[in-house]
């Protein structure tokens, strides 16, 4: 047998097979039982010829396998090319729910303060006047204590107007340091309109330790403002007054709409009010049994609805309470 001629012929037939059927034909013809090669192998008598023929068989088998793989792959490609989907069609519908926007803001703020190592406290909403007013250094004649501003259940039981009673309770329960934020529902006798709701949500923070300063308050609020409104934000303090803090300061964030150029959101001042804050008044420390000479601290309060309205351009606070899915599903 002319090994070389046979190989040339077989290799070209294998390489030339363009379908699996043609390849199988070629395999039968050159490697089948009746093939010239197999017959030659059966007839072989000397070792050298046997080795050459077996080597040829192996080469041809490998060539067939390789060609088969090629053809299979081409076949699959052809088939897949026909399984066409319009990828611009919508997928299988799966309804997801939505967290209320206020919950989303609440979580963001919780996370900021958890990151700073603060406790998150959600206290009771029905409070007594000691924890809501007296302990917070609000004298009996303070306007908030009037039934015109606060919802009373009876003479000294009230719906909390802010979450700070939780802070008083924590301070009463243990010595400094205290680092906490309280979040939850608060109540005021406000007539409902686009920016007022008798029920709203507050976050109030309190840090009491040795050597806490007004600068620490500013840095903390700056950290919060940047988390909520973007890394380029700045915080400004303005003088203010609250019975439970001294000095008291209003905190404003640089406008994220106009970058300080002046727009309707910031009322053309470049600054947006965040909320009230200040250094805890020494009288508050005395009321909870802390020594005002060694303990110092800051406190702040923000409205969650206000943050949501500012950041997302929600025009009317009532939208938060209407629960229209067309609103809820936007966030």
């Amino acid at each position: 047998v002319d090994v070389q001629a046979l190989e040339r012929e077989a290799q070209s037939a294998i390489a030339g097979a363009s379908t699996t059927v043609a390849l199988d034909d070629a395999r039968v013809r050159y490697l089948g039982r009746k093939s010239e090669l197999k017959q030659a192998l059966r007839a072989v008598r000397d070792r050298e010829t046997g080795m050459a023929l077996n080597a040829l068989r192996e080469r041809l088998e490998a060539a067939v396998a390789a060609r088969a793989a090629e053809l299979e792959r081409a076949e699959l490609d052809r088939m897949l090319a026909e399984e066409f989907v319009d990828v611009t069609l919508p997928g299988e519908a799966q309804r997801r729910g939505h967290l209320h926007l206020i919950t989303q803001i609440r979580r963001e703020i919780e996370d900021v303060f958890l990151g700073l190592g603060y406790e998150v406290v959600d206290g009771n909403e029905v409070e007594d006047t000691w924890h809501l007013f007296d302990a917070l250094n609000m004298p009996p004649e303070h306007v908030t204590r009037s039934p015109l501003h606060t919802l009373f259940l009876d003479g000294d039981v009230v719906l909390r107007t802010e979450t700070s009673p939780s802070q008083i309770r924590v301070m009463e329960s243990r010595p400094p340091p205290v680092y906490m934020v309280s979040l939850g529902r608060t109540y005021r006798r406000d007539t409902t309109d686009a920016t007022h709701s008798p029920i709203f949500h507050q976050v109030e923070g309190l840090a009491v330790d040795r050597g806490i300063t007004l600068a620490d308050l500013k840095g903390t609020l700056l950290h919060l403002a940047r988390a909520l409104f973007g890394e380029d934000r700045d915080v400004r303090f303005t003088t203010d007054f609250f019975p439970f803090t001294e000095p008291s300061v209003g905190a404003a964030v640089s406008c994220f709409v106009c970058e300080g150029e002046g727009c309707r959101t910031c009322k053309f001042t470049g600054w947006i009010e965040m909320g009230g804050s200040g250094m805890v008044d020494p009288n508050v420390f005395v009321n909870v049994g802390y020594d005002p000479e060694t303990a110092s601290g800051f406190a702040f309060g923000l409205g969650l609805e206000r943050i949501a309205m500012l950041r997302h351009g929600v025009p009317d606070i009532r939208l938060f309470w209407e629960n229209d899915l067309r609103f809820l599903r936007q966030f």
């Binding site: 997801r96 009037s146 680092y179 600068a215 840095g219 303090f237 250094m279």
Partner: protein, 801 residues
């Protein structure tokens, strides 16, 4: 409070741009809410087009009955012809004139106009057209004979910028132009003029009778008598200032009292002295006493109300509002001027009690400096004599003990300790002296009388120093921590898990009111004085709020409505405080099964088992209502909400308390699971849960994991609807047993187990012989079917196969 800048500049020569002034005040003193501009626009020499004019002659317009044709000298070689619609002046009158091209306060540009055949070469102006006042009945005739052509801006401020400031309740001293001027002087290092008001010479020796019976309520009362008073309109500059400050000009006498209040912050009152019967008595109201106030309202006084009375009756609500009978009228000629001081809390209470808030009460209730009254009296006297032409003929003063000025030690390092920003002693002193504080020989700080209520402690001085030094200079730092307690607590983590899970199941979160109209709990806490009947009761369940939200969504045409809420409810305890457990409530389309499915997934996520049992619920469909530990799940009664709405409400605190602290590993590797479906025919009232319980009871004891789970409600319902499979009184119950068998049996398996199961499956309370006796032919077939489920086996089956 509105602060006209021209008025402010009378006390302090501030010249920085208004925006900068507003900014500094906002940071250090009080918020400047906006700067408003009133009057003639001050642009491109516009003010120069406003002149003093003298009417040379005036006569009826030849072609119009209601117009006057005037010739007006405005300082030019020839008088101008001007057509005017007003008739309250004639030849010789000095009037304000705008020339053609002038931009008017309302923004229009004045054109040379042809009116009824005559060209009008300018405009004679009324108060209102100049935004000086509200009067538009005639043009503004100037009382003094100014030279024609004089710029009108020299006569009174034509253009005015007004700072609208919002002051804090601790700073009544800022409710005055002079008070703001004092701060401005300190902030910009400018010289402050002495307080306005110099007593002119008194021209009489009358001593009005004054008596204070309640020095707590009225520590001081200065009364002055004026005669030959001619009540008239105030001069334009005074009106202009009052209007700019937001006050309505009334008459010269009343305007003077208001002017002094705005200038210095001490409210005054003027009585028509001829209507007073005897002298002034300051006392508490008598029981049943009545008083008609200036607004014409007859008010019944409370014995706690402080009144100014004469010897017969009350004549004014002290500090709040004067009485109608003794008010100054056009014909009044003698007045008694009251410059007093009233204690704040009493005024606040009276004002609240009677729903009467005035410019006066707003200042008194914050605490006006008792040392201010003589200064206010001096300024009023000066103005009454110079503007009203009155003669000051008498005076009396009664005063109780006035409070001492606080003396405070300010440790030098204290500002730095509190604020994180060091301010040196010299600068501290300079700042404090700049805003009226004094230093005594020992270096201690003495509070000025107008701040004596507010600044009494070292910390108060720290605030004064830092606000003037500049809150903007305070650096940003974070607390240095030595101890840390904060972390996500378990209930916060679990709450988020519940929220996220429900969101994943397609529920949207709702926020509904904690205050409701009605609540099913008979003892639910009720507000004695609610905002409205809709917000009167503290709710004990979330479902009603959610129901309202669902209805609103259905009405709005929203589809696939599923809402949940996590909030507190308020359970009456009989004690002072209610319990306030946190609940999760939800309402969803898809009826009972969808609601229950959500409850089950929620339990699974918390690694809790839920056991449901039938329980009636007023809100629920009577046949689709269940109770479980911590709450309920039901389909809402169709009368309440038609359309098959599933609902549940669970107590989160109770759920969370049961969540296992740590999960312990269960073997997952040894054997594949065996899976068997069984169907039983049982009495209609046998519950699937009881059957499953029986199966569990029959199963070998733990730790062998063996899940017995009734097939879904829908398949049971389907079975019920197939009469062939559920003959007459029987319904089929199908159970799936996920059995972990090590034996990989292919044949019928576990028959012994199932026999025990069936014998145990009868509720013990009501034995069902048909089932409990394993020897009886069971109606229906237990169809053990085994197969390989992907899961795994761990424990040996007791029963031999």
């Amino acid at each position: 409070m509105r602060i006209p800048l021209s008025w402010l500049r009378e006390y302090v020569p501030v010249s920085v741009p208004t925006a900068e002034l507003a900014e500094r005040l906002t940071v250090s003193t009080c918020e400047v809410e906006r700067v408003s501009r009133i009057g003639v626009p001050d642009v491109n020499g516009n003010l120069g087009l406003y002149r003093v004019g003298r009417v040379v002659d005036a006569a009826k317009h030849p072609n119009a009955d209601r117009l006057q044709l005037c010739r007006v000298d405005v300082g030019e070689p020839e008088p101008r012809e001007i057509v005017c619609g007003a008739w309250n002046f004639g030849a010789g009158a000095t009037v304000p004139v705008a020339l053609p091209g002038a931009i008017l306060p309302d923004g229009r540009t004045l054109e040379r106009a042809r009116l009824r055949g005559t060209v009008s070469d300018g405009m004679i102006l009324s108060e209102r057209e100049l935004e000086l006042g509200l009067d538009h009945t005639g043009i503004l005739v100037l009382p003094d004979p100014w030279e024609p052509g004089t710029p009108l801006a020299d006569v009174f401020p034509l253009a005015e910028e007004v700072l609208e400031v919002e002051t804090t309740p601790n700073r009544p001293d800022l409710l005055s132009v002079y008070g703001i001027a004092r701060e401005v002087a300190a902030l910009f290092g400018l010289e402050l003029a002495p307080p306005p008001g110099r007593n002119p010479e008194r021209v009489g020796d009358e001593t009005p009778s004054l008596e204070i019976r309640d020095f707590d309520g009225c520590p001081r009362y200065v009364g002055r008598v004026f005669r030959d008073v001619r009540v008239a309109a105030s001069p334009p500059w005074l009106k202009a200032r009052l209007v700019a400050a937001g006050m309505r000009p009334i008459s010269n006498v009343v305007d003077v009292t208001n002017y002094v209040m705005v200038a210095l912050g001490n409210p005054l009152h003027a009585f028509d002295a001829d209507t007073l019967r005897g002298g002034i008595v300051v006392r508490r109201a008598d029981p049943g006493e009545e008083l008609t106030t200036l607004d014409g309202v007859l008010r019944r006084l409370d014995p706690a109300d402080l009144v100014i009375a004469d010897h017969e009756r009350g004549v004014a609500f002290a500090g709040v509002m004067g009485g109608l009978e003794t008010e100054v009228r056009a014909e009044s000629t003698t007045i008694l001027l009251e410059a007093a001081n009233f204690e704040p809390v009493g005024i606040l209470r009276t004002s609240e009690r009677h729903g009467l808030r005035t410019e006066g009460s707003n200042r008194w209730e914050k605490g006006v400096d008792p040392h201010l009254a003589p200064q206010a009296a001096a300024l009023a006297t000066e103005l009454l004599v110079s503007l009203v032409g009155a003669r000051w003929t008498g005076e009396a003063e009664v005063a109780g003990e006035l409070p001492e000025r606080p003396v405070i030690r300010l440790r030098e390092d204290r500002v730095g300790v509190v604020t994180g920003l060091d301010v040196g002693r010299d600068e501290q002193d300079e700042i404090l002296v700049g805003i009226g504080f004094a230093l005594d020989a020992e270096g201690d700080v003495i509070t000025p009388t107008w701040r004596a209520r507010d600044v009494t402690r070292e910390i108060d001085l720290v605030e004064e120093v830092i606000r003037i030094h500049g809150l903007d200079k305070v650096p940003s730092t974070l607390p240095l921590r030595r101890a840390m307690f904060g972390r996500v607590k378990n209930d916060q983590r679990l709450r988020r898990l519940v929220e996220d899970l429900l969101v994943g199941l397609g529920f949207a979160e709702a926020y509904t009111s904690s205050l409701v109209r009605d609540d099913p709990h008979p003892q639910a806490l009720r507000l004695p004085d609610p905002l409205s009947a809709e917000q009167a009761v503290l709710r004990t369940t979330l479902v009603h709020g959610l129901l309202g939200a669902v209805r609103r969504n259905v009405d709005a045409g929203n589809e696939e409505v599923a809402l949940f809420e996590i909030a507190r409810v308020y359970l009456p305890t009989g004690e002072t405080f209610p319990e306030e457990p946190r609940r999760v409530g939800a309402i969803t389309h898809g009826g009972f099964t969808r609601a229950k499915g959500a409850v089950e997934v929620l339990h699974a996520a918390l690694h809790l088992n839920a056991r449901f049992e039938r329980a009636a619920n007023d809100l629920a469909h009577p046949g689709k209502s269940a109770r479980l530990a911590g709450g309920w799940v039901a389909e809402l009664h169709p009368a309440l909400m038609p359309g098959g709405w599933g609902a549940f409400e669970l107590d989160l605190d109770e759920l969370f308390a049961r969540v296992p602290e740590r999960r312990v590993y269960e073997d997952v590797i040894t054997y594949p699971a065996v899976h068997q479906d069984l169907a039983f025919v049982v009495d209609e009232d046998v519950l699937a849960g009881d059957l499953a319980d029986a199966a569990r009871a029959a199963a070998p004891p733990p730790p062998r994991p063996s899940f017995v789970r009734p097939a879904s409600s829908t398949s049971i319902a389907a079975a019920r609807s197939r009469p062939a499979a559920s003959p007459s009184r029987f319904a089929s119950r199908s159970s799936r047993r996920n059995e972990r068998s090590p034996t990989r049996t292919r044949g019928p398996s576990g028959m012994g187990l199932w026999r025990r199961l069936l014998s145990a499956s009868a509720p013990s309370s009501a034995p069902k012989p048909a089932i409990s006796d394993p020897k009886l032919p069971i109606r229906g077939v237990a169809r053990p079917r085994t197969g390989y489920l992907g899961s795994n086996l761990s424990h040996a089956e007791e029963d031999p196969q």
